[in-house]
């Protein structure tokens, strides 16, 4: 008995000595922080993200998979500007909620999307659209003579896409630039001329025209228009104010205020809300968003469109959360389940393609996760999901603009590129209050001094989560393989505390300590610029925790 006790005591003391000499090496370690307790992108969500980044990375003039420009109207509800803008918003919510400690990929994609946004093919529709008034065209079709008193603008239009009206373009650009600056602390768009629009139509024989904007000028032009228009909203097309188009510049102004300490958005929100209420932009009887307001006639055209409610609601929720959440149940009841399934060959109206996508986005923002999941399942079942180069999307169908009908079972099968490339993916990624948090709980400047990862080869690896938990002084990163097979991948960890010692854990196993001057675990090395390089095999998903020792 004594012998047994002595052996047990010897073994225990030996184990303790080994544990002290080789602390934790290769053993399961303290699971705090546990990567599973932080948001991570699923395989499908990561696919949506990669698809949007793939679109961002196309050449400026390459619109493959993004549909066509309408030959009659020159733009439509699936126009490039909307795909590009909403892709940036979707990537913004991804970065904010899942990968705040993985900056370079999202920053580059955001800048690419802004660059694509100011490429002429995206905005030069305005040279044509500025010439006519669609609301009058409707009257002409109804047999009424209209536009009998043409102004100079009516005849010639104007090419500058920001200077007046066209808030359906300029408002998005403002939101994009504001988000870029907020999320990446990157003020490149404050430089005069950083948003230069170049119009150089060789065929007309005229010289190139350059319109130079920057974040400040764009903000001022839009803020002034709100004021000039007595806060009734800036026109998208001529004579037509859409509520949803005016939400995006409001979010852009909120970003501007955050960066510059101004209060431009405060007045616009207050006054625009007054007009919305007074003029029933959202009908208090039906709780649905108007179609548009005819300016010359001073007439609100009511509507019951899921897209209008989804589009306006997801953005207005950012600054009018309680109200939007109060009317959402009525809207949902109105559109579901009839939106998803009806009589075969039932005319769904020309909007169904984006009715689906925009309502899914609203559902995600207000946190109706059941509805979001139902719609994602529906899209996966009926919209022919496709994987391409690591990206996941729903390819647009032929005739997506003018295809009004369901299939023989009564399901929607018509998908436009805005819905298929961006909106469904955005809805699947966006958590409850996803956009609300970006604007109402913005990152402080100290966020940009926290440790983060960079320089991961996008072709070989995807980062499904990258979070720095300040309370635990720990960086949590999870990688999965990318579309290009590779035996190893590397990533760089920046801004680790130089006077700290960190424990490195991989998939919960302790690999060793990291400190300046100390021995490093295998697969890690200090780089000349003081950052840490970590190299790993990546045949399957791996999580890393780099935690400061207390």
């Amino acid at each position: 008995m004594h012998l047994k006790k002595a052996v047990a005591a010897f073994l225990a003391s030996t184990a303790l000595a080994i544990a002290l000499l080789i602390p934790r090496a290769g053993l399961a370690a303290d699971p705090d922080p546990d990567p599973a307790s932080y948001p991570a992108l699923s395989t499908q969500q990561m696919g949506h993200v990669r698809h949007m980044i793939n679109l961002a990375n196309q050449l400026d003039g390459d619109f493959s998979l993004m549909g066509e420009t309408d030959p009659v109207y020159y733009m439509n509800f699936h126009a490039y500007q909307f795909q590009i803008a909403f892709a940036q918003y979707a990537l913004a919510t991804t970065h904010y909620h899942y990968t705040p400690a993985h900056r370079d990929l999202y920053q580059n994609a955001s800048a690419r999307l802004i660059q694509r946004m100011i490429y002429k093919d995206v905005w030069d529709y305005w040279a044509h659209v500025s010439k006519f008034d669609l609301t009058d065209r409707t009257e002409i079709e109804a047999g009424m003579e209209a536009m009998t008193t043409y102004t100079e603008d009516d005849w010639y239009g104007w090419i500058d896409p920001n200077i007046k009206k066209n808030i359906m373009y300029s408002g998005h650009l403002l939101q994009m630039v504001g988000l870029h600056q907020n999320l990446f602390d990157d003020n490149r768009y404050e430089e005069p001329g950083s948003l230069t629009f170049r119009f150089a139509p060789v065929e007309y024989g005229q010289g190139p025209i350059e319109m130079k904007y920057d974040f400040h000028r764009l903000t001022n032009v839009i803020a002034n228009q709100f004021e000039e228009d007595h806060y009734r909203g800036i026109e998208c097309e001529r004579n037509a104010v859409y509520a949803e188009c005016n939400q995006h510049p409001i979010l852009g102004l909120m970003s501007y205020d955050l960066e510059n300490g101004t209060e431009l958005s405060v007045k616009v929100r207050k006054e625009f809300k007054k007009v919305m209420q007074k003029r029933n932009y959202i009908d208090p009887e039906t709780n649905t968003t108007m179609y548009f307001m005819k300016v010359k006639e001073d007439e609100v055209v009511p509507a019951t469109y899921a897209w209008a409610d989804g589009w306006n609601g997801h953005a207005q929720h950012v600054w009018d959360k309680e109200y939007i959440e109060s009317i959402y149940p009525d809207q949902k009841e109105r559109y579901f389940p009839s939106l998803l399934r009806g009589w075969p060959f039932e005319n769904m109206g020309w909007g169904v393609s984006f009715d689906f996508g925009f309502f899914a986005l609203l559902a995600s923002e207000v946190g109706d996760t059941d509805t979001v999941q139902t719609m994602i399942d529906y899209a996966d079942a009926h919209f022919e999901p496709t994987w391409k180069d690591g990206g996941y999307y729903y390819p647009h169908t032929r005739f997506y603009i003018y295809n009004f009908f369901r299939d023989w079972l009564g399901y929607i099968h018509n998908v436009g590129p805005l819905t298929g490339n961006v909106l469904v993916g955005f809805a699947s990624i966006n958590p409850k209050d996803g956009l609300w948090e970006i604007y109402n709980r913005p990152w402080e400047k100290s966020h940009f001094a926290d440790p983060f990862i960079s320089d991961i080869d996008y072709l070989e690896a995807s980062v499904t989560q990258a979070v720095f938990d300040r309370a635990k002084d720990a960086l949590v990163v999870t990688l999965v393989a990318g579309p290009v097979a590779s035996s190893t991948v590397s990533f760089t960890v920046r801004q680790l505390g130089t006077d700290k010692t960190y424990a490195l854990l991989k998939d919960g196993a302790y690999l060793g300590d990291i400190s300046k001057g100390g021995p490093l675990p295998p697969g890690t090395s200090w780089q000349e610029d003081g950052s840490l390089l970590i190299t790993t095999a990546l045949r399957e998903s791996h999580s890393f925790v780099i935690k400061a020792n207390q």
């Binding site: 050449l59 390459d62 060789v202 579309p483």
Partner: protein, 252 residues
């Protein structure tokens, strides 16, 4: 009398418009006609440029040529600003560096029109040894195109770009890493070194800069060719290329 003068001015305008569109700054063929008089007449009767079909057409064509000339000049100026990139040790090229004409091809190894144009380009390169040919990597067909472009630049470091380029351009299937590395081994490349070079940040940066050049040249797809100040887009035949070369030579 008035009609005769009007016709005469119209003729002068046509000649002036043509001269305006050409790069010939030599003596005017208008002889002793006083340009100030023509100008004065025009200011008094501006409608002539609209009323006379030949005049308005000549003016339109002259404006078009002026616009095209402006674009060509811009391209030349962009290329001058990017000379360092175009002669970088990472940029594969062939032919004489001491030449008046350079062809830059922007291409992707998975682009079908690029592959179809390849034998046509080989024909031109064989028959036009005096031109310089620059291989501009513009991988736009996804991840494996980017990897192929990295591999091509890495192959250039080993001095085997022409062999590797030929092999990739004549493969009739989609690329993956197995195929890229097998092709590299087949042409005699050290695959291990190739893999290291493919990860070199300098190579990645180089490809970014080449893409930025393509974008500033307003290239929207592959293949695209910059020949002097001209841009040709899409698949090309040896005949197309020779015609453009002849046109360029006539301008020099």
């Amino acid at each position: 009398m008035y009609r005769a003068l009007r016709n005469f001015v119209a003729l002068i305008l046509v000649l002036a418009a043509v001269a305006c569109g050409s790069s010939d700054s030599g003596p005017s063929s208008t002889g002793n006609i006083d340009p100030d008089l023509v100008r004065e007449y025009l200011l008094m009767h501006p409608d002539i440029v609209f009323d006379d079909e030949a005049v308005s057409d000549a003016i339109r064509r002259a404006l078009l040529r002026r616009g095209q000339g402006r674009v060509a000049e811009e391209r030349q100026s962009i290329l001058s600003a990017h000379q360092e990139l175009l002669v970088s040790p990472l940029t594969p090229s062939s032919g004489s560096t001491n030449t008046d004409i350079t062809i830059i091809e922007f291409y992707d190894y998975q682009c079908v029109p690029c592959r179809v144009s390849y034998p046509e380009l080989q024909q031109v390169r064989a028959t036009e040894p005096g031109i310089r040919y620059v291989y501009g990597q513009l991988p736009i067909y996804g991840s494996h195109s980017i990897m192929a472009a990295r591999a091509a630049v890495a192959a250039h470091r080993q001095g085997l770009f022409p062999e590797f380029h030929h092999a990739l351009m004549t493969i009739d299937s989609e690329l993956d890493m197995t195929l890229i590395f097998a092709t590299a081994a087949e042409v005699g490349l050290n695959v291990e070194t190739l893999q290291v070079d493919m990860r070199d940040p300098q190579v990645h940066q180089y490809l970014k800069e080449m893409r930025a050049l393509a974008e500033v040249l307003d290239i929207t797809g592959t293949p695209s060719f910059i020949i002097g100040g001209a841009k040709l887009s899409g698949g090309i035949t040896a005949g197309d290329l020779k015609s453009e070369l002849d046109r360029q030579r006539n301008q020099i």
